[in-house]
């Protein structure tokens, strides 16, 4: 088997590493939740980098 021109060997990734994939999924979900919650706090709701300005929602909160 080849990947980018380099010989690679097969490894049963899902069979042995599925707990880590579950962990990465849970962390991704948790970090996204925290990020969304932090974006809407009083400190950052009127920050010019807030994504709601990109959506066209321009009034101050």
């Amino acid at each position: 088997m080849k990947f980018l021109g380099v010989k690679v060997y097969r490894f049963p990734l899902v069979k042995y590493y599925w707990p880590f994939f579950v962990g990465f999924g849970l962390t991704f979900y948790g970090v996204a939740k925290i990020q969304n919650a932090m974006m809407d706090t009083a400190e950052f709701i009127n920050d010019p980098r807030h994504p709601r300005f990109k959506k066209g929602d321009l009034e101050k909160k």
């Binding site: 380099v6 707990p19 880590f20 991704f28 969304n36």
Partner: protein
Amino acid sequence: MTNNYINSPLDQFIINNLLEINSPFLNLSTLNFSTFSLYTLFVVLVISLTFILSIGGESNNLVKGSNWLIAIEAIFDTILNMVKGQIGGSVYGRYVPLVYTLFTFILVANLIGMVPYNFALSASLIYIIGISVSLWIGLTILGLFLNKAVFFSLFVPSGTPLPLVPVLVLIELLSYTARAISLGLRLAANTLSGHLLMSILGNLVKNLMSINYFTFIFGLIPLAGIFAIVILEFAIACIQAYVFAILTSSYLKDSIYLH
């Protein structure tokens, strides 16, 4: 020669969006191509390039590998011996790819961050702590899956007197939970404070040396000290990648074999 804005040493960790994806319905800011993505791409590119250079690449006409193979072999031998020494038993071979990937990625990311004016990937606290938290969740699931309820014997050190058990279980549970943060915080805090230290000292010496000719000559002495700190930072960049790998394999051993 004076800037009309204030340079904070923390400015070097700012992440800029290079390519944005916007939509009026969904928040797709996860898909933005930022400085961070660019440097992740650099790291993957450097690792792939080392592999391609070592065993011949597309034509694959090298039978014994070039001199680049020595670097890969040396790193792989170190990781294999480390995982074998830490985990042991018969199943250590399964976890060599995981620890090898973590070590190589963190090492290359740290060393790319040490190049002047570059972005240090592992100084982003949320990224590195995210990696360590997900590793910790994975280790807990792995331990519960392999050892079922016996996994909880990890929280009781062998030979504990019975009256001490409730207290020790609490302490061990606390230290087990703190691993999730401390594993990543160690690496991120090292990189963060190292880069901040170099930036602050460099700015101080630059201000001193730009006063007049005498201070320019005199400033060469602290500059030599800063070069020593830079060398120390290079050593720390390698050692912290090694420490991350060795602690990951030691935690793996705790989940698989319990003590």
